[in-house]
Subunit: 329 residues, 3 copies
C-alpha cells in the first residue's frame, strides 16, 4: 500500500516527502526497516526516533521532525492499531464443520460458521454466523454463541452460557465453571452448593488465556459489553462487571462483587467479595479492594486506599528501615 | 414442591401462612419472584428482606418477620444449599463410553461410568462406578479414579495419579504435572530433576478450573479428604494438604510445605516452601506465610504475622503519608 | 544397580562399607527404606539423618557420619538429580502418529516423533525428531517445533510460534495467545490491536502448566535458552527473557519488559511493563518491580526496593501497630 494511501485511509495528514513509498508492515521503532511504518506513543521511546529506519512514523504534534515522513495523529496508538488492521490479512476461517468435530444433532450451527477438528458441541446449543471455533473447544449443552466470535483452542464453555457477538476467547479460557460455594457444617465439613446459575458474556468482550468466569448458585455472573479481560484472571460466582472495564493479567474478583463501567484493575490486583467498585475507578497493580469505592477512585495497597496517600506512605515505609539506626548488629 | 413439604424435608419449622405454595426455584433476595425460596445468610443483605418478592425465606432467629413465610434454620446457608439440591435436577450422565473416545485396551472403565467424546484414557487406568468424564479429558496411564467423580472438560490427569471417590475436578484442572525441580550447576545451568513421585487426591476433594497439583521427584503430593480448592491455584511438588482445607482462588503453596486440617487460605495468598501451617489457621487475602504457624493462627501481610497486629500496623501505615508534611514540593 | 557402581557412575567417592548393596530407588530422608538412596541438601533436614533407613545418602563434607554409606558430592542436589535419572526408566514414546490425530497434509512430522490421539497439527507446521506430543495438543499453522521436545496434554501452540530443541511444555501451557493490546478511543471503547508478532522459545526451555506466553502486535516475545518457567505464569506481549532465568509459579511479567540472563523471580512476584531487570537480579516472593534494576540487584516489596532495606522496613512496619498505644478503644 502506498504511504499516501495509508495516511488517507487513516484520515491523517502526511508530513514530509515520500508519499509514494510502499508500506507493507508495521514494526516497533527499533525493529523497523524500509517498508515499515512505526509509531511513537509512549514518550519513553522518543530517543529511538532519530535512528529509526522506518519508512514512516505515526506520531502526534509533540514530534516536530523525524528522519522519515510523519503520519500526524492526535491518538497515535489508535492510529497504529488501525494501520495494523489495514496492512495484515485477517485470518481466514473456512466455513463449515470439520468431519472430526462432534456436533449434537440438536445443535444449530450457522452454515457460515467454522468448526475445527475435535470440537465438541452439546445438545440444543446454537452457534451464530461467521463464528470461528478452533480445535479442541468444548461447548456444553444449551449454550448460545453469537455472530463473528473467535473461540481459540482448548476453551471450555459450560452448559447454558450465553455469549454475544464479536466475542473473543483466547486459548483455554473457561466460561461457566462452578463457583466456589460451600456451606460449612458444624462438624467442619463443606457441603457443596449446586452452582446452577448462568454466565452471560455481552458483545465485544475479550477474555484471555486461562481466565475463568464462574457460574453462581443462583442468578448470573455477567460481563458487560466491550470489557477486556487479560490472561489468568479469576471472576468468581455472581460478579457483575460493567462495560469497557479492563482487568489485567492475574486479577481476581471475589464472589458477588460489582465492578461498574470503565474501571481498570492493573496486574495481580483484586477485590474481595460483596463490594462495589464505582465507575471509572483505577486499582493499581498488586492492590486489593476491601470495601466499596466511590466512582472515580484511584487506590493502591492492601487494604487499598487513596493512591496519592499510598504513594507518600510507601516512600515513608522505605525510610522506616533507615531512620532509626539500631545499636545492635 | 409444596413449601410445607420442602420445609419438612429440610427438617425445619415453617413460620407463617402459605404452606401450600408451590416452590420451584431458589433465588437471591433481590432476584426472587413468586415460586422462589430465598435466604438470608450474610447480614449485609438484611435490608432487602422487606421488599423481596420471594414465596419463602430461609433465615435464622435473628429475622423476626418477613413479607413471606420463614423457613427457620440455625444454619441458613447450609439449609439453602440443601434446598437447592432438592429443587434442581442433577445433571444426567449417560452410562457408557462415547464411540469417539480413545480408551486403551488395558484400561478398566466401570460400565456405569460415563465417558464423553474425545476423551483419552491410558494403559492400565481404572475408572470407578458412576464417574462422569466430560469431553477432551486426558487421563494418563496407571491412573486410579474412584466412584462418583465428575471430571469436567479439558482436565489433564497425568500418569499414576490416584483419585478417591466423589472428587470433582473443574474444567482444565491439571493433576500430576512435573514439579518445578532443578539442580543448578556451577555454570548456572539448571538440571531437570525427574519428577517421578505421585499425586494422591482423597475422597470428596474439589479442585477448581486451571488449578495445578504438581508431582514431586520422590514421595507424593497429597490432598486429603474433604478439601476444596478454587480456581488458578498452584500446589507445588511434595505439598501435603490436610482435610477440609479451603484454598481460595489464585493461592500458591510452594514445595514440600504442609497445610494441616481445617486451614483457610484467602484469595491470592500463599506460603513459601518447607513450612508447616498449623491446624485451623487462617491466612488472609494476599498474605504470604514465610515460617511455621502454630495451630489456630490468624495471620496477614507479607511476611505474614498476627492478624490483629497487622491491622493496627496497616492503619499506622496509612497515616505515614500524612503525619509529617514535607517542606519541599 | 550396585551402590558402588552408582557412586562411580556419578563420579563420587563412596564413604563407608556396603558397596555391594542393591539400589533401586531415590527417596526423601524420612520416606527412604532399604534399597533407597537418599540425599541431604537443605540443612533443615539434617536432623532426620540419624534415623533414616536409606541404604545410602548423598551429602557434602558437612556430613561427617551417617547410619549408612555416604556418596560424597560437593553439589548433593545436582548429584541427587543425576542419581534419579540413572535409576528411573525414562518414559517411552512410541514413534509414529496416532490414527486418531489430525495432521494437515502440508505439515512435516519427523518419522521418529510421537503424536498422540486427538492431536491437531496445522498447515505447514514442522515437528522435529523424537519430539513427543501428548493427547489433545493443538498446534497451529506455520509452527516449527525442534528435536527431543516433550509437549504434554492440552497444550496450545498458536500460529507461527518457533520452538527450539529439548523444550518441555507442561500440561495446558499456552504459547502465542494474543497480547492484551488495545488502543482506547476518546469515547472509552477499546480498539483491539491485531497481535500478529511472533513467539520464539529457545532450546532447553521448560514452561509450566497453565502458563501463557503472549504474542505481540509487532516484533517478538522471546524466551532464551535454558530458562525455566513454573505454573500459572504470565509473560505478556513483547517481553524478552534471557538465558537461565527462573520464574516461579504465578509470576507476571507485563508487556515489553526485558529480563536479562540468570534473573530469579520468586512466587507471585512480577514486573510492570517497559522496564529492564539486570542480569542476575533476584526478586523475592510477592514483590513487584516498577523501574529498571541494575545487574545483581536483590529487591523486595511493592514497589520493590533493596532487599536488605526492605527487611528492616518490614520489621519496623510490624512494630508500627505496637509502638503508640492509642487512647481510645
Amino acid at each position: 500500500m502506498r504511504l499516501i494511501d495509508l495516511a488517507t485511509s487513516l484520515g491523517c495528514a502526511l508530513i514530509g516527502e515520500g508519499g509514494d513509498r510502499e508500506i507493507t508492515r508495521v514494526a516497533g521503532l527499533e525493529d523497523a526497516a524500509a517498508g515499515d511504518v512505526t509509531f511513537l506513543s509512549n514518550r519513553k521511546y522518543a530517543k529511538y526516533v532519530a535512528t529509526t529506519r522506518a519508512s514512516a512514523i505515526i506520531a502526534d504534534a509533540s514530534l516536530a521532525s523525524a528522519p522519515c515522513p510523519i503520519i500526524r495523529s492526535a491518538q497515535p496508538y489508535v492510529t497504529f492499531a488501525e494501520a495494523l488492521s489495514r496492512l495484515i490479512a485477517a485470518p481466514r476461517h473456512v466455513a463449515g464443520v470439520s468431519p472430526l468435530a462432534h456436533v449434537d444433532p440438536t445443535a444449530r450451527v450457522d452454515p457460515s460458521a467454522s468448526v475445527g477438528p475435535f470440537v465438541s458441541i452439546g445438545a440444543g446449543t446454537s452457534i451464530g454466523p461467521r463464528t470461528a471455533i478452533y480445535p479442541h473447544v468444548t461447548i456444553g449443552p444449551g449454550v448460545t454463541l453469537g455472530a463473528d466470535c473467535v473461540i481459540h483452542a482448548q476453551v471450555s464453555i459450560r452448559e447454558d452460557v450465553r455469549v454475544g457477538d464479536r466475542v473473543i476467547l483466547q486459548d483455554a479460557a473457561v466460561i461457566g465453571s462452578d463457583g466456589f460455594g460451600f456451606a460449612t457444617r458444624r462438624d467442619g465439613t463443606h457441603h457443596k452448593i449446586p452452582q446452577v446459575g448462568r454466565v452471560v458474556i455481552d458483545d465485544d468482550v475479550e477474555i484471555g488465556a486461562h481466565s475463568a468466569i464462574d457460574r453462581p448458585a443462583v442468578g448470573e455472573t455477567r460481563i458487560a459489553a466491550g470489557t477486556k479481560i487479560d490472561n489468568l484472571v479469576q471472576v468468581a460466582h455472581g460478579v457483575k462487571i460493567g462495560q469497557r472495564v479492563l482487568l489485567a493479567a492475574q486479577v481476581g474478583i471475589a464472589g458477588s462483587t460489582t465492578i461498574e463501567d470503565d474501571v481498570v484493575f492493573a496486574g495481580q490486583s483484586g477485590a474481595v467479595g460483596h463490594v462495589r467498585v464505582g465507575k471509572g475507578s483505577i486499582v493499581t497493580a498488586k492492590s486489593g479492594v476491601t470495601h466499596d469505592l466511590a466512582p472515580g477512585s484511584a487506590v493502591s495497597g492492601f487494604p487499598a486506599f487513596d493512591l496519592a496517600a499510598w504513594k507518600k506512605a510507601s516512600v515513608a515505609f522505605r525510610r522506616l528501615g533507615r531512620t532509626r539506626p539500631r545499636r545492635k548488629r
